[in-house]
């Protein structure tokens, strides 16, 4: 159906998944993890990664049964028009809500940190313009741009972590088990909803050259993200201490403000903010594109480009709904993340249905 998309390979897929997930590190996600896990937040991060990796297994199997088809087609074939449509709608709405929340969160973060006097509509409009342009150019462009920008994105996080090393104090990671193993595991499992975007592979899996690369790409991306989250959270706890770090809406920004290496390398957080923007832009573009493409499939339209502009307007309008910056965070923590947990299990549900109903070609499984 959407053949003009082009092809992506294993490395591109992994980079895609990683980039879309890692933008969360710059807003409150580490704070959530630290709130849940205390000093043992890094363990919660590892639990989160494990749950995410587990959820990728049925996804890989599902894509292998239905090669070359997008989310809408698969769920329609497996669940019939009504149930399948519900699945697609759920996932699409979740992507869309994440995109909207992401736009608003990004606007609030940037106004709160580096550009205090700029009206939010300007930032929102610029971000949405970037998203629209990227989605217009197509998935291939976004993937390639992500690959080119990957060193910058990685540098954004790793440099901050490396430059903060003089302040690390390992004793702040203790008590070792935080609030207790059960609490850590429960928190980690709850926040596995943060990895829900990995299901974007389902929505865009038709673009992969070989189906068996889908699962591998997802696993590499999720594993990398999980590792980096654990590292970031550990560093944050070691520098700020668990109670304080949980109370920061953008802990990584605070960390970058603390970079102080001698007389020269000080106060460089604005530069880090610029590096982070690339990550945020890639994530928003991908989420937007995924929701546009899924919606196009759902409504059985032949092309996705005309849908971009109405969706963009919708994004701008919805992003203005929450009243203040904290409501945005709460929406993410109380609604989007649990819904993300559900999204993680959608492939498993679809696979179960497919097995039960005997749909899909097993012979394609390689």
């Amino acid at each position: 159906m959407i053949r003009e998309e082009g092809h992506i390979g294993l490395l591109e897929g992994a980079v895609l998944v990683y980039a879309i997930l890692s933008a969360k590190l710059f807003i409150s996600s580490p704070g959530f993890l630290i709130e849940a896990g205390g000093p043992a937040a890094w363990q919660a991060a590892l639990v989160m990664t494990a749950v995410g990796l587990l959820a990728l297994l049925p996804l890989g199997a599902l894509v292998r049964r239905f090669p070359g088809q997008g989310l809408f087609r698969i769920s329609e074939e497996v669940g019939g028009p009504f149930l399948g449509g519900l699945f697609t709608l759920y996932v699409t709405l979740w992507f869309f809500a994440n995109a909207v929340n992401g736009v608003r969160n990004f606007t609030e973060t940037y106004i709160g940190t580096v550009l205090p006097n700029t009206p939010p509509s300007v930032l929102t409009a610029t971000a949405v313009a970037c998203m629209v342009y990227a989605s217009y150019r197509g998935l291939e462009s976004i993937c390639r741009a992500t690959q080119v920008l990957l060193p910058v994105i990685l540098a954004g996080i790793l440099l901050v972590l490396v430059f903060s090393m003089p302040r690390l104090q390992i004793s702040r990671l203790y008590p070792f088990w935080g609030h207790g193993i059960m609490a850590t595991a429960a928190g980690g499992a709850y926040y596995a909803g943060m990895v829900g975007e990995a299901v974007i592979l389902l929505a865009l899996g038709y673009s992969f050259r070989e189906v068996k690369q889908v699962r591998r790409a997802g696993m590499i991306g999720v594993a990398l993200f999980g590792l980096l989250t654990a590292l970031t959270v550990a560093v944050l706890v070691m520098i700020f201490g668990a109670p304080d770090a949980a109370q920061q809406p953008f802990p990584l920004f605070n960390l970058s403000q603390l970079v102080y290496l001698g007389r020269f390398l000080q106060r460089t957080e604005a530069l880090m903010v610029m590096f982070w923007f690339f990550n945020v832009a890639v994530r928003l573009s991908l989420l937007f594109h995924a929701s546009v493409v899924s919606l196009t499939g759902l409504l059985k339209l032949p092309m996705y480009r005309p849908v971009i502009f109405p969706m963009a307007v919708l994004v701008i309008a919805t992003s203005l709904l929450p009243e203040d910056s904290l409501v945005v965070l709460r929406i993410m923590r109380d609604w989007l993340i649990p819904a993300g947990l559900g999204v993680l299990f959608v492939p498993a549900a679809l696979l179960a249905l497919a097995l039960v109903r005997g749909k899909g070609g097993q012979s394609h499984a390689t």
Binding site: G38, P39, G112, T113, V114, L115, P116, N117, T118, P119, V122, R167, Q169, S171, R172, Y174, P175, F176, W177, G178, H179, G180, I239, F240, G241, A242, P243, D244, N254, Q257, L258, Y260, R263, Q266, R267
Partner: protein, 416 residues
Amino acid sequence: MRLRGLLACLLALLAAFPLAGCWDRSELEEEAFVLAIGVDKGKESLYTVTFAIAHPGKMAGGGKGGGGGGEDKPLMLTSVEAPTVAGAISMADTYLSRQVSLRHTKALFIGEELARTSGMFTMDEFVRFRQARRTIFYIVTKGKAVDFLKGMEPQLEKDPQRFIEQMTYNVRYTGMIPSASQIQHFVTQVNTGYTSPITYYAALKEEGEEKSAKGTSLSESGYEAGEIPRSGGPNIELLGGAAFRGEKMVGVLNGEDMRMVLMLQDKFRRGLFSIQDPKRSDLFVSMEVHQGRPLRVDVDLSGPQPRIHATVTLEGELLSVQSDTDYTEPELQAQLEHATVGAIEARMITLIRKTQEWNTDVIGFGQAMVQKFPTVAAWEDYRWPERYQNAEIKADVRFTLRRFGKQLSPPRPRGQ
């Protein structure tokens, strides 16, 4: 059609340039950069906030503006009374021609009186406000901060803030100030509760007064800030530290105590010790001491009181011998080492008693204690800060002399 679209884009682009004056943009010469802030208890309002604002023409020196003479201060000081620091900023904006900006603030000076009574968190701006950052040095001044700022004369540097910043580096070779005291350290330590903070303590040297050494120590480091027996040089003394319990200041540590604290925190690098000569009590031996092995802290929670045993390993280089004893001989060397150990341990005990008197764990034993507890709940139930004053703390020092300088036996007249 295409051309029109392109023209529209071009116009929009060109329109972007004039828009650039509308929001966050500001030229460098439109801002007043505050280099240091001083906060004291206020008379009419809650706080008296002093801003030390840089004067670019005079501070930059050289250039076309020409540097000022000695009487031209590179900083402009102004004090405002306000209920909060943010309120003070807003009031200062009204009578200054440029907008006050905290982006280059390097140091926060708190008057001792304020530090002892209300502490840090009523100045939440430094944590929350985006322009202020947590790398600002947190310095407690003896007396009022405004007096300190008015009286500062760095002499060697033109920029007082650079002076302060470079003074904080001398912990590497004297060890008489805290290893780091920025707002971030303060806030984190108070928040997590494993230790209590120590901040820099600064004082102005009053002219003409030379106080004698406090306490019984005969070494050169047992002075508090402002009391070094000297004359000449910059009148700022950044020495020792201010010990806090929670967010309130409870006591002043002198240079000697600070060294012990650093040793017990495993952050001591090197410093010069002068101890009494074991053979002749009226003369001294100087050694440069630095850390050998890392600190070892053993914690024992079994009894009713927590027991802590800290082992510090030091190494030294002999710098000067005033008597004619040849301390390079093995038995005499052992005697010297023994005497050094004794002297250092005595000072450590003094320090520990001081902190237990104030009931504040500034040394940081809490960091070793917390590793014994599996969960946060268990640690919080234990309530270490309250138990500190009754804890049994023992410190052992091991010292070896490694090098003796360029001379073995001291050069003395023959025939003695």
